[in-house]
């Protein structure tokens, strides 16, 4: 019973965050950077459901912008990493030879450094750029897809059903659709969920050490550092980005566990 409920809980948590964003966009729609210095640290009220921060900015607007940033980043990174990693992994395992050697060399270079250090170095190239962070996080994430797809394809390549298809003269596209992808899909999906969590984590991490997106951008890690000095004034404001990161990552982890459990039998 437990393993069935947990992924559902993950979806519910994610839906709750999305509805927070929807409420903000539909009913409030304030500018997350709009400062109202006479309204600093307002308590939650019908007008400001989550209160205001140290510059009197509406917290709901900021939190919703931050969630959108995080989800957009994770979506883009996971999509890019999945496409690139799967494609490259298939190519490396299928053609082997120099294709495999070249791609494996690139992977070794990327894996020689811990992911966050690589992301930090990329972030240093053009500070505060969403695109640069996107490239960096994708570059770290696609390694996993490549390794998974490559090793699975290497063993599947000589499976009886694949060899039979080849003998019948079916094309690569058919073999890919009929034999390879169905076997790879459960793992790819669960990797995508974990990847989304790590993308969100990476974005928040570099925001937290102040080298990610720049203020006044609303970003979860950045919000934490900005609000930390005001902990004694308004701990409930600081709690909001903390809780949001926690719920985001937890929901993706829970969904990932469900994906593996349901189709990965």
């Amino acid at each position: 019973m437990m393993p069935r409920l947990l992924p559902l809980l993950g979806l519910v948590l994610l839906a709750a965050l999305l509805s927070l964003v929807a409420i903000d966009l539909l009913y409030f729609g304030r500018d997350p950077a709009l400062q109202q210095l006479q309204q600093v640290f307002l308590h939650p009220s019908p007008d400001h459901p989550l209160g205001t921060d140290q510059f009197g900015r509406c917290n709901l607007a900021r939190l919703s912008a931050a969630i959108q940033n995080s989800l957009l980043m994770s979506l883009l990174c996971v999509a890019t990493a999945a496409l690139l990693g799967t494609g490259a992994g298939l190519a490396a395992a299928w053609y082997q030879g120099w294709v495999d050697r070249c791609l494996s060399f690139i992977i070794n270079v990327l894996m020689a450094l811990p992911g966050l250090v690589l992301v930090l170095l990329f972030a240093a190239l053009i500070p505060g750029s969403f695109v640069m962070l996107y490239l960096a996080i994708s570059a770290v994430l696609w390694v996993e897809y490549f390794r998974l797809v490559r090793s699975a394809t290497l063993s599947l390549r000589h499976a009886p059903e694949v060899e039979a298809s080849m003998l019948y003269g079916f094309g690569k596209g058919y073999i890919l659709r009929r034999h390879l992808l169905p076997k790879l899909l459960p793992d790819l999906l669960s990797l995508a969920c974990f990847g989304a969590a790590s993308a969100i984590l990476a974005l928040a991490s570099i925001g937290f050490v102040y080298v990610g997106l720049k203020p006044p951008e609303a970003e979860l890690g950045l919000m934490m550092v900005e609000l930390l000095p005001y902990y004694s004034d308004a701990p409930w404001v600081l709690a909001q980005p903390l809780l949001t990161v926690f719920v985001l990552i937890l929901s993706f982890n829970l969904i990932a566990s469900g994906v593996r459990h349901d189709i990965g039998r």
Partner: protein
């Protein structure tokens, strides 16, 4: 064994090359004329003129084509000549030496703490798999794993430093400064490793050789010490290597949070200040530390596991 060390050496060289290349690009992306910047660093901002800048230009070979500069940049790196900090002007190597020691200290204590937390819990739960204690541990681990390491650190600071006042909030000094950062790192690592230990313990305890050990008359403790412990230890040690990534990344975050004067803190600061030689040196050391941890783990595994060592050749076999 030699192959193992060779692989790690190659990895170390890849680290140096990729860090060197990225920082070289970074150096050339910096705004402003390079020669003026360095001349200002040498002679002071008031003394800079065209002449001084030109002298620097010629001396450092800034007129050379980019690929030549790139080669000399890598050559400097190879000789471990990491240059001077663009901000403080001091040799980078000097600054980074102290920081490396502090980071190593933090990493070591964090790993030890994480094992102290994870091993007893993992073994306890593994022996009682699916029991209530096991379920509780699974829940706590899942919740902990959904926290970024800096959130754990932050919450610990809020509770133990600000509310209870048991430990200092941040900084560096006696052992009381070490506790909170090391524990936050340890908790993140233990959240994952206690499950690995639990799974290993559960599968070892149910294995045929454990049953046989009990059947042949060893009592539970003897069987565990002789047959289960080494088999549990091996994957756990390998997993410490996997966690080296989490450890290094955690060090960057936790050092920044606690203002711990290590290389992670230095890296974040250098990136913020766009101090390229400092970025290069600290990223390089983080990468090398990563390789070092992996090498130590490889060697430990090799030493503990007779299957990895070359077998004495038997006649007829081969």
């Amino acid at each position: 064994m030699i192959a193992l060390l060779k692989r790690r050496l190659l990895q170390a060289m890849l680290v140096a090359w990729s860090v060197g290349t990225l920082t070289f690009v970074l150096m050339h992306l910096l705004p402003g004329d390079f020669a003026y910047r360095i001349a200002a660093g040498r002679y002071g901002y008031d003394q800079v003129n065209k002449l001084a800048a030109d002298a620097v230009h010629v001396e450092l070979g800034l007129a050379d084509p980019a690929w030549l500069q790139y080669l000399s940049w890598l050559w400097d790196l190879l000789r471990f000549d990491l240059g001077n900090s663009l901000i403080s002007g001091a040799p980078v190597l000097q600054e980074i030496q102290h920081q490396l020691g502090h980071s190593l200290q933090l990493a070591l204590f964090a790993t030890v703490f994480s094992l102290l937390i994870a091993v007893p819990i993992g073994v306890y739960c593994g022996k009682r798999a699916k029991g209530p204690a096991d379920q509780l541990c699974l829940m706590i681990s899942t919740l902990l794993r959904a926290q970024p390491v800096f959130v754990i650190g932050l919450v610990l600071v809020l509770i133990f430093a600000l509310q209870l006042g048991w430990f200092p909030v941040a900084g560096f000094g006696g052992s009381q400064y070490l506790i909170l950062p090391a524990i936050s790192l340890a908790l993140t690592m233990a959240a994952l490793s206690n499950r690995i230990i639990r799974n290993n313990t559960a599968s070892v305890m149910g294995s045929p050789y454990m049953q046989f050990a009990r059947l042949k008359g060893l009592n539970a403790e003897q069987a565990f010490a002789r047959h289960a412990a080494p088999n549990i230890a091996l994957p756990v040690i390998a997993f410490v290597g996997v966690q080296a990534i989490a450890l290094i990344e955690g060090i960057v975050m936790i050092e920044s949070l606690f203002s711990w004067p290590g290389i992670g803190h230095a890296l974040a600061h250098a990136i913020f200040g766009r101090d390229v030689p400092m970025i290069q040196a600290s990223a390089l050391l983080m990468g090398l530390l990563f390789v070092l941890i992996n090498t130590v783990v490889d060697l430990l595994g090799y030493w503990l596991d007779p299957r990895q060592q070359p077998q004495p050749k038997k006649r007829g076999a081969q």
